[in-house]
């Protein structure tokens, strides 16, 4: 089974802090993703990475950056946390194979910015 592990289940930070969310996958997947999930808005893509050191902006990249130094690890960075970034953050990964492949998710990090 695919295993996507997010380092923290719950995190509380203060406005203005720099926040790091970590994600590791163990299936040698090329693609990795960061989403946020908010009630009534569903899942929204923040950033995507298709290879080491490669990244693309998703639908809502403002206020976020990412880092992918190793294939298995994808980090989301909140440069200066704000209260509107309080949310559930989900990491996912997928294989590049013949045809489309499903994304597999971690259990999420519930982040509160005070």
């Amino acid at each position: 089974d695919v295993k996507v592990t997010q380092s923290s289940r719950y995190l509380v930070k203060r406005t203005g802090e720099k926040v790091f969310l970590e994600c590791v996958q163990d299936m040698d997947h090329e693609n990795m993703f960061w989403y946020r999930q908010d009630p009534g808005l569903g899942l929204r893509l923040i950033y995507f990475s298709y290879d080491v050191k490669m990244k693309e902006k998703g639908d809502i990249p403002e206020g976020y950056s990412v880092s992918r130094e190793k294939k298995e690890r994808f980090s989301l960075i909140l440069e200066s946390a704000s209260t509107n970034q309080t949310s559930m953050y989900l990491c996912a990964s997928s294989l590049v194979g013949k045809g489309r492949q499903p994304q597999h998710f971690g259990d999420g990090t519930r982040l509160s910015i005070l």
Binding site: V4, N31, F33, G40, L41, G42, L43, L45, F48, Y50, E56, L90, S94, G99, R100, P102, Q103, H104, F105, G106, D107, G108
Partner: protein
């Protein structure tokens, strides 16, 4: 805005009954669809996927039906169990865009009564 939606936000069934969860999509070019299950406090879990060259696909106790004529997707769960209680949402992708980008519906809450 979202191009994938659900007809019913909540569905309540008796244990042992069959459940049907529906999803409408608006992009006729979408050709890959996924159903996810999300239990409380967990990340979305892949259930089943289907490509547009098929109209039906079966898994263990689940069947996905695709009607491209009316742009409708459904997930059928046979002999629903209490452990099936969760939010279910569909996702779509179309080959004309990036092959990674999924558009997610907002979800249907399935409650199984014992």
């Amino acid at each position: 805005g979202e191009s994938v939606g659900l007809h019913l936000p909540t569905l309540s069934v008796q244990e042992g009954d069959n459940s049907i969860i529906n999803c409408a999509y608006s992009n006729s070019a979408s050709d890959y669809f996924i159903w996810y299950k999300q239990e409380s406090g967990k990340g979305p879990q892949f259930i089943i996927d289907i490509r547009s060259n098929m109209d039906k696909r079966q898994g263990q106790r689940v069947t996905v039906l695709l009607n491209k004529t009316v742009k409708h997707l459904s997930l059928q769960i046979a002999a629903t169990q209490p452990g099936d209680s969760a939010v279910y949402f569909c996702a779509e992708n179309f080959s004309g865009g990036s092959n990674y980008k999924l558009t997610f519906g907002k979800g249907t809450l399935l409650t199984v009564n014992p």
